[in-house]
């Protein structure tokens, strides 16, 4: 009796082992998020192409940069950057898995390999580069921090806001800059930190805080929507408190992936410089050698690991930098012409490296 038990047990064990060999590994019901993301050395490009989908960390509550519409579709400036990278690497701008991240989880998502690239209006600072183990790619939006007050208050300079309440979003460079600037000038203040913009906006409109400090692009977009809905007129102060260069970020240690992302983004600006748009890039008939190289004519390949006509694919799918900006940011009331984000030939700061 004991022997037969033992025999049956052995047979069972062998069956179980045989069954378990061909396991898919990884997680049960996730849509193919496989291991080997950013935590290892290199290999992100191959992993993304294997998976067939780009995991992109985005914002889902910031008008203009990343929002979700009624149908659950993501759209925005940073979202279009994700689409550009997907078009470059996978040939399909829609092959993106958008992962909404908030201020606390954005860096851990990148560090743990949950996302391949973070495109969430993140300011590039040395501290983040060093302490969070990230590398920032090309700056896609030059912004600055400003202060908005109701126009009726009549405040125009920072000193008018001594001891006042400031509405801030916690966990962003906003808080740190506010402290730095105001402490240096010896102005005392009271920062009321909120977690999400909806509550912050309510508190601001109710008068619980007298001033709202954030990136000027965000202030402009909220000024626009408040005034549009018939609210009080708003005034954004002239003085800029800090530099806020926003751009995508990738994890340290994968220079191949870094170059792919960096150049995909820069090529959006280059296309703008060359005057190539989503409409005319497919039918370019000129003779300029730099443009021909850019569109991969004659098999020109800079050796980044992408297809030779990658720029045509990307620009046709997403448009050049100007088109993306005009699609998402200009409706917020921030014109491109004359701003810091204008092309260098027009006096702005957008200066892409040559192809």
């Amino acid at each position: 009796m004991n022997r037969s038990k033992l025999l049956v047990a052995l047979a069972a064990l062998t069956l179980v082992f045989a069954a378990c060999t061909d396991d898919g590994g990884g997680d049960t019901t996730t849509t193919g998020v496989d291991g080997g993301g950013g935590a290892e050395e290199g290999g992100t490009l191959a992993a993304v192409q294997d998976r067939g989908e780009l995991n992109c960390g985005v914002n889902d509550v910031l008008p203009g940069f990343g929002i979700v519409d009624e149908e659950g579709n993501y759209s925005g400036f940073d979202v279009d950057l994700c689409r550009a990278i997907a078009a470059a690497v996978l040939g399909d701008a829609d092959a993106v898995n958008y992962v909404p991240v908030n201020v606390e989880t954005r860096f851990t998502a990148l560090q743990s390999g949950e996302i391949d690239v973070l495109s969430r209006n993140t300011t590039a600072t040395a501290t983040r580069d060093g302490q969070e183990g990230l590398t920032f790619v090309f700056t896609t939006f030059y912004d600055g921090q400003g202060i908005m007050v109701p126009a009726s208050s009549g405040f125009t300079v920072f000193e008018d806001l001594q001891d006042a309440n400031f509405c801030v979003l916690t966990g962003t460079t906003t808080e740190l800059n506010l402290n730095a600037v105001f402490s240096d000038r010896g102005i005392s203040f009271n920062p009321v930190g909120f977690e999400d913009s909806a509550e912050l906006q309510q508190a601001y409109e109710a008068g619980q805080c007298e001033a709202w400090t954030s990136d000027r692009s965000q202030l402009a977009s909220f000024k626009f929507s408040i005034e549009e809905a018939g609210g009080e007129a708003q005034f954004i102060m002239e003085e800029i408190m800090s530099k806020e260069p926003l751009g995508p970020a990738v994890l340290d240690g994968d220079s191949e992936w870094l170059q792919v992302v960096n150049w995909t983004i820069q090529n959006l600006v280059l296309a703008w410089e060359f005057g190539l748009t989503s409409e005319n890039i497919g039918s370019y008939s000129g003779e300029e050698s730099r443009v021909l190289n850019f569109i991969g004519d004659g098999g020109y390949d800079p050796g980044l690991g992408l297809a030779t006509d990658v720029n045509v694919t990307v620009i046709e799918a997403v448009g050049n930098y100007q088109e993306i900006y005009e699609r998402h940011i200009e409706p917020l009331g921030i014109p491109l012409a004359g701003s810091l984000n204008d092309l260098w030939t027009n006096g702005g700061l957008m200066y892409a490296q040559p192809y």
């Binding site: 009796m1 037969s4 049956v8 047990a9 047979a11 069972a12 069956l15 069954a19 061909d22 396991d23 898919g24 990884g26 997680d27 049960t28 019901t29 996730t30 849509t31 193919g32 998020v33 496989d34 291991g35 080997g36 993301g37 935590a39 290892e40 889902d60 509550v61 910031l62 008008p63 929002i67 979700v68 519409d69 009624e70 149908e71 659950g72 993501y74 898995n97 958008y98 992962v99 909404p100 991240v101 908030n102 606390e104 989880t105 851990t108 998502a109 560090q111 743990s112 390999g113 949950e114 977690e195 913009s197 909806a198 906006q201 309510q202 409109e205 929507s225 408040i226 809905a229 609210g231």
Partner: protein, 463 residues
């Protein structure tokens, strides 16, 4: 339930004025209280009506209803959710029917008459849930949701008739409920990866219970009792390898379905863990007892949000490099760790409520500890803790609102998505908050009424 005691004489019927005198204005203090409360009540009702009917901008809800319910679920895969609703309706119907059937069997054994609950009574019990669903359907405007809900109710009603089946089919009824529940989950999440495992476990357990082992000779009996579950598991595994179909994994779920499923998955995973912890805590081996007690006291001393943070920030680093868990998976792990401690306390209470004579009787009959647990102690103890487990599920359902702090968009978090849209950036904040509050309230209220009713029925604890 139907035995009538000697009835006390009915209290005298009061005229309306007499009722007012007795109930509201019995003495000066009571009169003052009544007047104050009436004034406040009238004011509150008036303001609420004005808000709901006249001033309210309910467009924010009606346009974003799908967003509230399913979040950013790919709209071309919504058919999966419809199929899930139908399967879950059937599973629920068969489950309730089997439970009623078991009650009927017991009544028959005791010689009492059994009356299945009336439809009107059921509707009255779930009025808040039904009202909420009707409001949603009215706001939805299209015919699709009506069809799905109607279909689920119809299918559930058909399944409920399983109470008429003979007693030998009860185990089959439970098996069908479990399988349909899993099928409802997998029709959305796909059948790849480890999806075969829960189904294999259920079928293995069921084969153990269903195959008539007692009729076989001893060597064959042991072979079959060990082999049948393995064969069942193997067959399931094989089938799943063949029909490996992708789906929409739980990383892409958001809105109300994430809230409901997160709570369900966590409670299902936490139940066996909590059970083992409770047994360890009551064990006679001091090492096990101390380990279990330390774990339970540690977990019960910290808020859930700290555990969610721990899951978010620490869990990824605690596993070897290269394993990637999504945010939702980490939150499920953290939630399971949290709930297991509470479930362990609940089960321990149930085990303690059992008279020690039961255990002693089992030992007197020469049964080993595993057999005593399986056949005597656990069935009674677990039945006694069902109301408390429902209470824990309600608590989990409410705590799922914390998920938005770690970045997952569940029912409360969809508010932020709605208010980032251009049309609702500066308006409708109160309406969305009221809608979310009512949604949570309707579901939790129904469940808590059911749990109270179960508690009365099972005659568990007075407090």
């Amino acid at each position: 339930m139907t035995a009538t005691a000697e009835r006390a004489p009915a209290p005298p019927k009061l005229s309306p004025l007499g009722w007012l005198r007795k109930r509201l204005f019995q003495n000066v203090g009571s009169a003052v209280l009544s007047v104050t409360l009436i004034v406040i009540l009238l004011y509150v009702v008036y303001r609420s009506l004005v808000f709901v009917v006249i001033n309210g901008q309910w467009e924010a809800i009606s346009r974003n209803l799908t967003l509230f319910m399913v979040g950013t679920f790919p709209r071309d895969q919504v058919w999966r959710l419809a199929a899930q609703a139908l399967m879950l309706g059937l599973a629920f119907g068969i489950g309730v029917g089997t439970a009623s059937g078991t009650a009927r069997d017991k009544a028959k054994q005791a010689g009492l008459a059994y009356e299945p609950p009336l439809l009107a009574g059921t509707l009255k019990r779930f009025w808040s849930l039904i009202a909420f669903v009707l409001v949603l359907l009215t706001l939805a405007g299209t015919a699709g949701p009506w069809l799905v809900v109607g279909g689920a109710v119809l299918v559930g009603y058909i399944g409920w008739h399983s109470w008429r089946l003979p007693p030998s089919m009860r185990t089959l009824g439970w098996l069908l409920t479990a399988l349909l529940f899993l099928a409802g989950f997998q029709v959305v999440s796909g059948t790849e990866g480890l999806a075969w495992l829960p189904v294999a476990l259920v079928l293995a357990a069921a084969s153990r219970l269903l195959v008539p082992v007692e009729r076989l000779e001893t060597p064959l009996r042991q072979l079959v009792s060990l082999g049948a579950p393995l064969v069942a598991a193997g067959v399931v595994y094989g089938i799943y390898q063949v029909i490996a179909a992708p789906g929409v994994g739980w990383d892409d779920w958001s809105g109300m379905i994430l809230t409901l499923w997160w709570s369900a998955i966590v409670i299902v995973l936490a139940f066996p863990t909590g059970l083992m912890l409770a047994l360890a805590r009551r064990s006679t081996l001091p090492a096990l007892r101390y380990l279990a007690t330390t774990y339970i006291e540690l977990i019960r001393g910290v808020p859930l949000i700290t555990l969610l943070f721990m899951g978010q920030f620490m869990l990824g680093f605690m596993l070897p490099a290269g394993t990637v868990f999504s945010s939702i998976t980490r939150s499920i792990a953290a939630g399971t760790l949290f709930t297991a401690a509470y479930v362990a306390e609940i089960v321990r209470g149930g085990l303690q409520s059992l008279p020690p004579g039961q255990m002693e009787a089992g030992q007197a009959l020469g049964m080993g500890i595993p057999a005593i647990m399986r056949r005597i102690v656990l069935p009674q103890a677990l039945r006694a803790v069902i109301p408390a487990m429902v209470g824990q599920f309600i608590s989990l359902f409410k705590d799922s609102s914390l998920l938005f702090i770690i970045g997952a968009t569940e029912f409360l978090g969809v508010r932020d998505l709605v208010h980032a849209q251009a049309d609702f950036r500066v308006s409708a904040h109160a309406e969305t908050l009221v809608f979310v509050a009512v949604g949570y309230w309707a579901i939790a209220f129904s469940m808590s009424r059911e749990s109270q009713r179960l508690e009365r029925r099972l005659g568990v604890g007075e407090t």
